[in-house]
Each structure stands twice: as structure tokens, then as C-alpha cells.
């Protein structure tokens, strides 16, 4: 589904990705983890074509994405920071995205699930951070696409919405979709992720299931295992 070979990207002198190789073939939930500034968002944005890599190749659905844009029709993306055009209302924004994508959508269900009805006619600039994130979630989940990329989906959500988000994610997974998720909430990752991709200093440092990670680091607790893996190299 996604094949990344030898991906390099630097911003000025700051090398963010240094030769990432990643293959994602099956459906399931892949958690992309790593310390702050390890290149998670850059990696995701490269797949989306928002960041242009310096070197390396990315293919999505078995064809290279270089200079292409139509493949994004099959990707749903939830950006990390929910920034929206401020003078649109929630309803207008959703309608606009539907109009741009020209795909059947199920926004009404999601809006009622996340209890967004009272906000539909409000301007996006007046919404709270958590409500904006809910709008973000509606826009990411309303289309039926085989690949979903969620960058920090839990930001600003209250516990009830968090539970709904997890249910949504599981529902999409059960349809056989591939989900890429980044998060710093380890409890959340442990609950939903099938496989961990750990980025460190611009490279994939570990890839495998949570069980394998625990075995490798000899830690029983997932959060500690993740914290330990960053030091693993120096200890070993």
C-alpha cells in the first residue's frame, strides 16, 4: 500500500529524514512514534505530497507519487494542528470539502456522533480547540478511503470523544483499511496500534508489534519500553 525507499529530507541544515525505508502492505493500524522532532510529521506529509523529498521514492497504491495528486482521493488525512479558514462556518467548510473531493460522504452520522450540531452555523474562528479537533475528525472520517493518516488525533479531546474516536478507528480497521497514526499518548497507542514504527534521528529505529518491542527492551510496561528504546543503542 505504501512503499518508501531511502527517503531523505532536510530543512536548511537540519536533516529531518535520513534514508527512511518503510513498507506497509497490509491493512491495520500502524503507529508512527518517536521523540519530538524525529520527523514523524515530515514523513506523513511526504506521503501526502505536501513535503517534497530531497531524495528517495514514495509509492502509494503501487505507483510513485512524484508529481501526482489524484492518489490523494484515496487518502483521508487528519492534520496535526486543526487550522481552518476562519471566516467559514463548520457547515460551509464540510460542504466545501465534499464539493472538492466529489465522493460520497457520511458527515451527518459523524456530526451527530460527536455532537457537533450546535456548532454547525458557527464560524470556525469562534470554536474551542477541542471542538475544532472534532470538526477535524469529521472531515477525516467522512469519506470512505482505503488509507487514513491521522496526525495526533487525540489532541484536545475530552474523554467521551476520545472513546468515540477509538471506536471510529476500530470500525475503519475492521473494514480492512490501513491507518497511520502518530501520537504521544502511549496508552492510546497501546490500545489501538497493531504495529509500531519508531523513528529516531530521521531513521526507522524499530518496526514491529508491541509484543516484540517489549521483548526487545525487556520492559513490561509499554510506555517504559518506548522510553527505553531511545536509549537502547547506547546501552547495548
Amino acid at each position: 500500500m505504501i512503499g518508501i525507499t531511502d527517503l531523505h529530507k532536510k530543512y536548511g541544515k537540519n536533516k529531518v529524514l535520513t534514508g527512511v525505508d518503510l513498507d506497509i502492505t497490509n491493512g491495520g493500524i500502524y503507529a508512527i512514534l518517536g521523540p519530538n522532532g524525529s520527523g514523524k510529521t515530515t514523513l506523513i506529509k511526504s506521503v501526502l505530497g505536501m513535503v517534497i523529498p530531497d531524495a528517495g521514492d514514495i509509492s502509494v497504491f503501487d505507483s510513485s507519487i512524484k508529481g501526482k495528486w489524484k492518489y490523494r482521493k484515496e487518502i483521508n488525512y487528519l492534520p496535526q494542528i486543526a487550522n481552518f479558514p476562519n471566516n467559514l462556518s463548520v457547515k460551509e467548510l464540510i460542504q466545501m470539502i465534499i464539493d472538492l473531493r466529489q465522493k460520497p460522504s457520511e458527515e451527518e452520522q459523524l456530526i451527530s456522533l460527536l455532537e457537533l450540531e450546535p456548532f454547525l452555523d458557527k464560524k470556525l474562528s469562534t470554536l474551542s480547540g477541542g471542538t475544532k479537533q472534532k470538526v477535524n475528525i469529521v472531515m477525516a472520517f467522512m469519506f470512505d478511503s482505503p488509507l487514513m493518516i491521522l496526525d495526533e488525533p487525540t489532541t484536545g479531546l475530552d474523554p467521551a470523544s476520545l472513546i468515540q474516536l477509538k471506536e471510529l478507528i476500530q470500525k475503519e480497521k475492521s473494514k480492512g483499511k490501513t491507518l497511520l497514526i502518530t501520537s504521544h499518548i502511549m496508552q492510546f497507542v497501546e490500545e489501538v496500534a497493531d504495529e509500531i514504527v519508531y523513528l529516531l534521528e530521521g531513521n526507522i529505529y524499530f518496526q514491529g508489534s508491541i509484543k516484540e518491542l517489549k521483548e526487545k527492551t525487556k520492559e513490561k510496561d509499554f510506555e517504559h519500553a518506548i522510553a527505553a528504546i531511545a536509549n537502547y543503542k547506547t546501552h547495548a
Partner: protein, 260 residues
């Protein structure tokens, strides 16, 4: 691209600034006509205002709009849309709405004053056409500057500097060079220099069309010989068109290489 254009156009139609711009021109048109009491004279005064103000407003508005719509752009980039169509759609949205404000704002008072019955109609249309060209050119340049500079303050600074250079400093340098090299034949040089700057080009074009080139002395005669003919007119418009196309081309080129 048309969809993006539609959305940014709607967006602008709802923003206060388009109306401020429109009302400003409306007011300007009425005041000029009231003070001059004559269509042709009002057209000349208007030219001086348009030549300087239209580029300034195009520049400021272009930069401002681009920085304000950054979120919108990021949202669009994740959608199945071609990059160049996102940026070009936004650009045409801004440039079209500015042009519309200019045309309606100035057109309404002049039409009410009886433009269609007067001989000034051609001069006035030329004024509007060059005004539209200037809007497109400077909005395009502003978009380029904003796209190349993440830092808003820097972007604004460069954009204003660009306007200042083309609207004021360029003329100063031009005059200075004419004085320094007084002893040489400068016809071709001044002709080329006037054509290399879209503001000067528009000004010369309008001045000559208004038939007041006698004021320009000998150089005016040379200019008249060049711009007054049909081929001169075509070349000048060709150049204005080139000035309008270059920023658009560079915008689509730059947008393909930019990270978000």
C-alpha cells in the same frame, strides 16, 4: 482550479476589504468628477491616482490574503488537487475581485456622469484596462513574495519595497540617468527603461493616448512615434501581458517545489 477560484472569490466577496476598496474608488470617482466638472480632466487626475494606488493595493492585498489563507492552502494541499491549481485559483480569485472593485467603483460614477455620451470613453476604458493589468501584475508579484517568505514581516517588507521601487525609486533613477548622460542620445534607452517597468509603461501608454504628449517635449515626440502607432500599442500591451504572465508562471513553478 475553477473550484478554488470560486471559493476564494466567495471568501473575498464576504470580506470587508473588497467593499472598502470598492467604496474607496466609488468615492474617488464621485469626488474627482465633482471637483473637475469635466470627464477628460477627471480621467487625467484619475490616471495619476491609479498608476500609484492600484499597484500598492494589489501588493498589500495580495500579500495579506496569501498569509491569511495559509490554513486554507494547507487544507487544500491534502485534498486531491493539483498544486498549481490551488495557488492559481487563489491568485485569480484575489486579482479578479480587486479588478471588479476597481471597475465597478470607478465605472459607476463615470457612467452616471454620462460617460457613454462623451469622447472620454476610450481614454477611460484604457485607464481601466491598464488598471486591471496593474492589479494582476502586482498581485502576482505579491503572491510570489509571500510564497517565498514564511516570515510575514519580511514578506510585507519586501512587497512594499518592491512597490516603492517600481513606483517611486525607479523613476528617480531614470531621471538621474537622463541628467547624467545628457550628452548622449537617449531615445532608445528611455524608451526601453519606460517599458521595463509596468508602472511607467502604463503611465506612458495613457499619457500618449490622452494626447498630451506635447508636454513631454522631444522625448515625447519619440515616444509618440513609438507608442502612438498601432504596433507600438500592441508591443506595449504585449509587454504588460508578459509582465502579468511572468509572476503567474513563477508562482506555479515555485508552488511545485514548496514544503508545507
Amino acid at each position: 482550479m475553477l473550484k478554488i477560484l470560486k471559493y476564494s472569490f466567495y471568501d473575498l466577496m464576504r470580506s470587508r476589504w473588497s467593499y472598502v476598496y470598492f467604496l474607496f474608488y466609488l468615492l474617488l470617482g464621485f469626488v474627482l468628477l465633482f471637483l473637475n466638472n469635466d470627464l477628460s480632466k477627471a480621467v487625467i487626475t484619475l490616471m495619476n491616482v491609479i498608476i500609484v494606488l492600484v499597484p500598492l493595493i494589489g501588493t498589500i492585498f495580495g500579500v495579506m490574503y496569501f498569509y491569511n489563507s495559509r490554513e486554507f492552502i494547507e487544507l487544500l494541499l491534502a485534498q486531491p488537487l493539483k498544486r498549481s491549481s490551488i495557488f492559481l485559483g487563489q491568485f485569480f480569485g484575489v486579482a479578479t475581485s480587486l479588478t471588479l472593485s476597481l471597475m465597478l467603483g470607478l465605472g459607476i460614477p463615470f457612467v452616471l456622469y454620462g460617460l457613454f455620451k462623451s469622447d472620454a470613453i476610450w481614454n477611460f476604458s484604457l485607464l481601466l484596462v491598464t488598471g486591471s493589468f496593474l492589479t494582476f501584475i502586482f498581485t502576482g508579484l505579491a503572491f510570489n513574495i509571500a510564497l517565498s517568505n514564511e516570515n510575514k514581516i519580511k514578506g510585507f517588507g519586501y512587497a512594499v519595497l518592491l512597490w516603492l521601487f517600481l513606483a517611486v525609486i525607479y523613476d528617480g533613477l531614470f531621471l538621474l540617468s537622463l541628467i547624467i548622460f545628457e550628452e548622449y542620445p537617449l531615445d532608445t534607452f528611455s524608451l526601453a527603461a519606460a517599458m521595463a517597468n509596468p508602472i511607467d509603461l502604463s503611465r506612458t501608454l495613457i499619457l500618449l493616448k490622452l494626447d498630451i504628449s506635447a508636454l513631454l517635449g522631444y522625448t515625447g515626440a519619440v515616444f509618440k512615434q513609438f507608442f502612438g502607432t498601432n504596433s507600438g500599442l500592441i508591443i506595449s500591451f504585449g509587454l504588460l501581458l508578459l509582465w502579468a504572465i511572468l509572476p503567474i508562471w513563477s508562482l506555479s513553478y515555485k508552488s511545485r517545489r514548496k514544503d508545507f
